[in-house]
């Protein structure tokens, strides 16, 4: 479909059981696939922030925000395009330790990727890479031939270039 793009939906909420279900059901009802979802504490005490990435068109994004804001425990929701945000993902790679010693190539891969080594043991080592999707993806492709035991990537975390003014909103209340 035309005009489809990746949107980062940020949702500031009260910190309550069941809210994740309510938030995700709004996407489900409209048959929109959630590509990534992260929830954490926000800059305000006792206020949570969801960061959801989904592909949709502009009008869908506006309606999703409207439906989200309508939920009682949602304080504010926003939709931003990639250009309007600064975003990162984090990935962990668990690789068998023998490859580190047997394959010289792998040391170069790690060095070139600017990844961090988190831990090294006799059996395996774990490296961490934070960056844009294409960066963690590239490292994944590069490491794949060398006995990649486990791979995991976090959802997107993002902050907006524009101010959010949630604190002001809550003080105004």
């Amino acid at each position: 479909m035309a005009n489809q793009k990746s949107y980062t939906i940020s949702v500031y909420t009260e910190n309550n059981v069941g809210l994740l279900n309510r938030v995700s059901s709004i996407f489900l009802k409209r048959h929109i696939n959630i590509e990534s979802l992260t929830t954490s504490q926000s800059e305000i005490e006792n206020v949570n922030r969801f960061v959801i990435v989904a592909t949709m068109d502009d009008s869908q994004a506006r309606k999703i925000v409207g439906q989200l804001e309508k939920q009682i425990e949602v304080i504010k929701a926003y939709a931003h395009t990639d250009e309007e945000t600064i975003y990162q993902e984090s990935a962990l790679f668990k690789v068998a330790s023998d490859s580190l010693f047997d394959e010289r190539q792998i040391q170069n891969i790690i060095k070139d990727s600017h990844a961090n080594i988190v831990t090294v043991s006799r059996e395996f080592f774990v490296i961490e890479k934070t960056g844009r999707r294409h960066e963690t993806e590239k490292l994944y492709q590069d490491l794949k031939p060398y006995r990649l035991l486990q791979f995991v990537r976090s959802g997107r975390i993002s902050v907006t270039k524009e101010p959010m003014n949630i604190s002001e909103m809550l003080t105004a209340f």
Partner: protein, 577 residues
């Protein structure tokens, strides 16, 4: 213990008292002004029922015959009174049986609080007997829901529940209470909820929007209003009337807006939508300014959106910001409660009459009368029509009755032909189209408006979906008048099969029981009418009977409802046959 002995003359003092969670639930209901609830008991809610027993002189509990009936009765009560309806059920199947009514209340913005019992906190997640995740199940169909696991949460959560259900755009709230929280005791104190920081019930009014809207309205040559339930929910009937009378704008209604404006008002131009009137449907695509008031552009109202009112500037008076631009792109949104926004725009609009434009609606009415209405209201063929039953009811009630309709052909006929002189008088399941709604909703409506005539208009199909509620009528003596328009078909589906599926009547023919015998089994006066000559006197008898009454009218089997906008067609392609 002290609290129990003083229940008889309990008033709500702000003094702290040590009571059980179950008793606290009752005290919260009383504090919210609730004196009537609908429900069905079971294991997980027994502590609350035990308290209901003690408080029965202050809080009446109506035992419906199915939990779905409890929700629809609560809805009927809410729709006729404007107050919050309350339904109660046990965990598991009791709770899941509420879901249809909750979904109905959600889509039709009906204020309702449902209270369900739940297994004890220590059993949650263990697949205990009658454990069901009703909070998970009801999330998409509630305005808010919450599971209480500690007695001390009860006052604050119930206060929030009532505030949320009734404020802003109303809706259903479900509160699930674990059994331990019902048994445990705590220091009870109640404070009403008046605000929630993450919830703005009514958006602020923007003066700029009002001015822009007024400018468009004042410049319009062919303005048209479509009003919905927002006028009723906002109790804005007077403001609405003042607004249309000053501006002289022809006003059409959605089925949920019906009864907000007197049926005979000169500016009332009828119903929009799939089976609405010819004029307002056609002229939607000819007006230059379309003013939507408290309605949400449902697809049954708009038909094909790509060809809906494209020529018009659209103004949307709306309380729910999420409705703006959801289906139809608006030029000016006027956010706020219709009561306030309409009052505020009144001084900004010019007096006008739009006589010629109004006349266009009347010319369309003449065409519709000739092609559709004449045969429906003054039939010359032998079979009784649904329309003539409604005409008979109109003439005998003078448009003063509350009409509760179910879902199907009879619903469309009831909404098309029933006449109203009072608001909050048309109760029907609009957005969800829930068959089985009318009988229990009529019971609730009668209890909410005991001095008014409440007449349920139901099809032979929908009647059998909640027919067990005759038991509730028997037990409570609710003086509901029940009219079943029996065409021995699931008529509306049969109509579609006839028009769009080459008359392949797959599973729409009904072999029905003897409805008269059934009504008599519940000691309800009953009569069957098969001939036109008997109709007037039967309606007369029904209305002059003091208690409940069941009237079965055997109508023509294969009549259709027209006009009709076929699904996906444009409002201007409304068919007369």
């Amino acid at each position: 213990m002290k609290a129990q002995t003083q229940t008889a003359n309990l008033t709500i003092e702000k003094k702290t008292q040590h009571i059980s969670g179950a008793e606290a639930v009752i005290r919260c209901l009383l504090a919210e002004g609730v004196d009537l609830i609908y429900g069905y008991p079971g294991g997980a809610i027994m502590p609350i029922y035990d308290e209901l027993y003690k408080y029965q002189d202050q809080l009446r509990h109506v035992l419906t015959r199915h939990e779905q009936g409890a929700t629809h009765s609560a809805q009927g009560f809410a729709r006729v009174t404007g107050k919050v309806g309350v339904a109660m059920a046990t965990s598991g199947p009791g709770a899941t049986n509420l879901v249809t009514g909750i979904a109905d209340a959600q889509i039709d913005s009906t204020p309702m609080v449902c209270i369900t019992g739940q297994v004890g906190k220590h059993l949650l997640g263990s697949d205990a007997f009658q454990e069901t995740d009703i909070v998970g199940i009801s999330t998409p169909v509630t305005k808010w829901n919450y599971q209480i696991t500690e007695a001390s949460e009860i006052p604050e959560v119930l206060a929030k529940a009532f505030y949320i259900a009734r404020s802003g755009r109303p809706g259903p709230v479900l509160i699930d209470i674990t059994k331990n929280a019902q048994f445990d005791t705590f220091d009870f104190e109640y404070e009403k909820c008046t605000s929630i920081r993450s919830y703005k019930a009514v958006p602020d009014i923007d003066k700029g929007q009002l001015l822009e809207a007024a400018k468009l309205i004042n410049a319009a040559k062919k303005p048209m209003i479509v009003f919905g339930q927002g006028v009723i929910l906002g109790e804005a009937e007077e403001e609405f009337k003042a607004f249309i009378e000053k501006t002289g704008i022809p006003s059409a209604w959605t089925i949920l807006g019906l009864s907000a404006l007197d049926s005979k008002h000169p500016l009332n131009v009828g119903m929009v939508g799939m089976h609405g009137n010819y004029g307002p449907n056609k002229l939607t695509n000819e007006c230059d300014v379309l003013i939507a008031v408290g309605m949400r552009f449902d697809d049954r109202v708009t038909g094909n959106l790509a060809t809906y009112a494209k020529q018009a500037k659209v103004i949307h008076f709306e309380i729910d910001p999420a409705e703006v631009d959801k289906n139809v792109k608006t030029d000016v949104a006027v956010l706020g409660n219709a009561k306030e926004t309409l009052a505020k725009i009144l001084p900004l609009v010019n007096e006008n009459s739009h006589k010629e434009w109004l006349q266009e609606y009347r010319s369309h009415d003449t065409i519709e009368f000739e092609k559709v209405i004449k045969d429906e209201l003054y039939p010359t063929k032998e079979g009784i029509t649904m329309g003539e039953v409604m005409k008979e009811i109109n003439s005998k009630t003078g448009g003063k009755a509350v009409i509760v309709s179910d879902v199907g052909q009879h619903q469309m006929m009831a909404c098309r032909y029933a006449e109203f002189t009072q608001t909050k008088s048309n109760i029907t399941s609009g957005g969800l189209g829930t068959m089985g709604f009318a009988l229990p909703a009529a019971i609730g409506a009668k209890m909410g408006a005991p001095d008014r005539e409440v007449i349920a208009i139901i099809g032979d199909g929908g009647y059998q979906m909640t027919i067990q509620e005759l038991g509730t009528i028997l037990q409570t003596k609710a003086a509901v008048k029940i009219v079943v328009l029996n065409n021995e078909f699931l008529g509306m589906v049969r109509q579609w099969q006839q028009l769009f599926f080459d008359k392949r009547y797959a599973s729409t023919e009904m072999v029905n029981p003897d409805f008269i015998t059934i009504a008599k089994g519940y000691h309800i006066n009953a009569k069957r009418v098969t001939k036109r000559e008997e109709l007037a006197s039967a309606v007369e008898e029904m209305l002059s009977t003091e208690g409940s009454y069941f009237l079965e009218v055997c109508v023509e089997k294969e009549n259709n409802v027209f006009p009709m906008i076929p699904t996906g067609a444009s409002v201007s392609d409304v068919r007369l046959s």
